[in-house]
Amino acid sequence: MIVLGIDTATELVSVALVDGDEVLAASESQSDRRHAEDLTPMLQFVVQRAGIEFSEVDAVAVDVGPGLFTGMRVGIAAAQALAHVLSVPLVGVDSLEVLVAAAGNVDDHELVVPVIDTRRREVAWALHRTHDDGTVRRVAPPQVGTMDDMLAAVRERSQSCLFVGAHAISHEEQIRGEVGPQAWALNFGSSLPRYPHARHVALLGHVRVLRDGDDSGHAGRRAEGRELPDAPTVRPMYLRDADAEISWTTRDARGVR
């Protein structure tokens, strides 16, 4: 099964094609605010590189955040369109589970904490626990807050802890300082991927499609009295209300109506 993975939730834009657990082609670019410009040519590139046609793609997987709102939407809009045009299943995976998947073998640590910078001085994180059988399970769902909020949640558990993600690495000193005297084994996976990557989006997506099929199970649409199947959609993980975003200055720059 060929799965196309898309990740635009952080400043690293990436695209990957996997067949089962084999990566056929992947591409990434450090892409601050150029997600929309970079993504489509990268999609074109990986398909050419893999030597396939779009019609051979069996499913589309996309990172639904948490992350940068505009970036996330670029990838999700493209993924929704691709799944629709190709009539294939669409699945969403969250950026924090993608980071954990990228971390690979983490069984030396009791707690794994993926961290993503969502800007405006906030971070998104989740807590994962490793089990004796080698599996990693989520024990606290994705949430967003200040670094202090995140550290409080980690401290509560006082376990040996692996932080994953660029933001945790760049704030290693602060995190070590604030965990303070409890000083359990804190590990900053600096050799691990620092951003979520489409390779892992596609691999996770593959597993999920096999398990659940299509993600887009909303109520059917009605058009002129007839029930129609929904077009593929996934739900972005914003973790923040849009109401907080009101800006009267940008309102005046709006488009024509």
Binding site: R34, H35, A36, E37, D38, L39, T40, P41, L43, Q44, V47, Q48, E53, F54, F69, T70, R73, V74, G75, I76, A77, A78, A79, Q80, A81, L82, H84, V85, L86, R221, A223, E224, L228, D230, A231, P232, T233, P236, Y238, A242, D243, E245, I246, S247, W248, T250, R251, D252, A253, R254, G255, V256, R257
Partner: protein
């Protein structure tokens, strides 16, 4: 793949999928040959913004992303086709809200790529010009186009569908913006255009003599002073009737627009005068412009309200006109929230 994208030239049988997400309407349309609208679906987010008295960018972006797939499905369904019949994909690349634009642009580029058909980025303002032609393809040029909306107020002289220039514009607020601000001040609700229009029906337009700015001053217009005059008048006369103020304000806006439109039409030798943009739905403006055009021996094009306000048929049509000249847009294109009309717009 995709040599077709370089050498494509549209013709009468070309089917374009148009996508519009620049502001608060999610719209998708299927248009054949630039003028045959097979479907035009518009999903408005008005209710989601109304409680804030204006369009909230983040709410708009979220709503576009959620609505676009099903609006697309419905546009195809109503056109009676599937994706395989689409020959090109057009999307608004600006001007507008950047986050909102990017949703449509990303979906459109991905769609074009997967279908192996050209993508064409469309200027939303240029698309409004083509909306007039959609309703009446046999228009006589030169045409003076009056574009009045929440974001823009301009007079555009068109010699043919590809040759146009901006001959006059607002130096401050757009007409629709003035409507919104005055409506909010009078507590009439959002959007301001229809709210003022309604209230004005019950008011006396001669009740207050608001200033007509720059009447004798070229083809540019200004609405910021008028808005301030309304606010000052109501503050000085707290008992004044809202309806009278709305009617008098609307009269002043319409007077200025119609006066300048006539002047502009004369200056560019227009044989046709056309109206577009959200404010073009204003009943008094439609009435007065039609009367003035008739008096001056001009054909007056008042597109349907559906074609005046934001829609994707005009995007597909504008895209087709570009594709017919062999133009398309590379897949590394983004959005440009401050995109201008090709010539003359400041």
């Amino acid at each position: 793949m995709a040599d077709v994208q370089q050498n494509f030239v549209a013709d009468e049988s070309t089917v374009v999928l148009g996508i519009e997400t620049s502001c608060d309407e999610t719209a998708v349309s299927v248009v054949m040959g630039g003028g045959d609208v097979l479907s035009s679906v518009v999903s408005s987010q008005l209710d989601e913004h109304a409680r804030f008295g204006g369009v909230v960018p983040e709410i708009a972006s979220r709503a576009h992303l959620e609505a676009l797939p099903n609006v697309t499905a419905e546009a195809l369904e109503r056109a009676g086709i599937d994706f395989s019949r689409i020959d090109a994909v057009a999307a608004t690349v600006g001007p507008g809200l950047v986050g909102a634009l990017l949703v449509g642009v990303s979906a459109a580029k991905a769609t074009a790529l997967a279908l192996d058909v050209p993508f064409v980025g469309v200027n939303h303002l240029e698309a409004h010009l083509y909306a007039a032609l959609l309703d009446d393809p046999d228009v006589e040029f030169p045409m003076l186009f009056v574009l009045v909306s929440g974001g823009h107020t301009m007079f555009v002289a068109m010699n043919d569908p590809h040759d146009y220039r901006v001959v006059g514009q607002t130096i401050d607020d757009a007409a629709g913006e003035a409507f919104d601000k005055v409506a909010r001040f009078l507590d009439l609700g959002f959007p301001g255009g229809p709210a003022i229009d309604r209230s004005a029906q019950n008011g006396n337009e001669k009740a207050v003599n608001f200033p007509r700015a720059m009447l004798n001053d070229g083809l540019d217009v200004s609405f910021s002073g008028l808005k301030t005059a309304v606010i000052n008048h109501v503050r000085a006369n707290p008992d004044v009737s809202n309806d009278d103020v709305a009617a008098s304000f609307q009269r002043a806006v319409v007077d200025v627009l119609v006066h300048k439109a006539r002047l502009a039409a004369r200056e560019c030798g227009a044989r046709t005068i056309a109206l577009g943009g959200g404010v073009a739905a204003n009943s008094q403006l439609r009435r007065e412009l039609e009367k003035a055009g008739n008096d001056d021996g001009l054909r007056v094009l008042l597109p349907s309200r559906e074609m005046c306000t934001d829609n994707a048929a005009m995007i597909a049509s504008a895209g087709w006109y570009r594709l017919r000249r062999g133009e398309s847009t590379p897949l590394d294109a983004g959005a440009n929230p401050n995109l201008k009309l090709a010539r003359g717009q400041r």
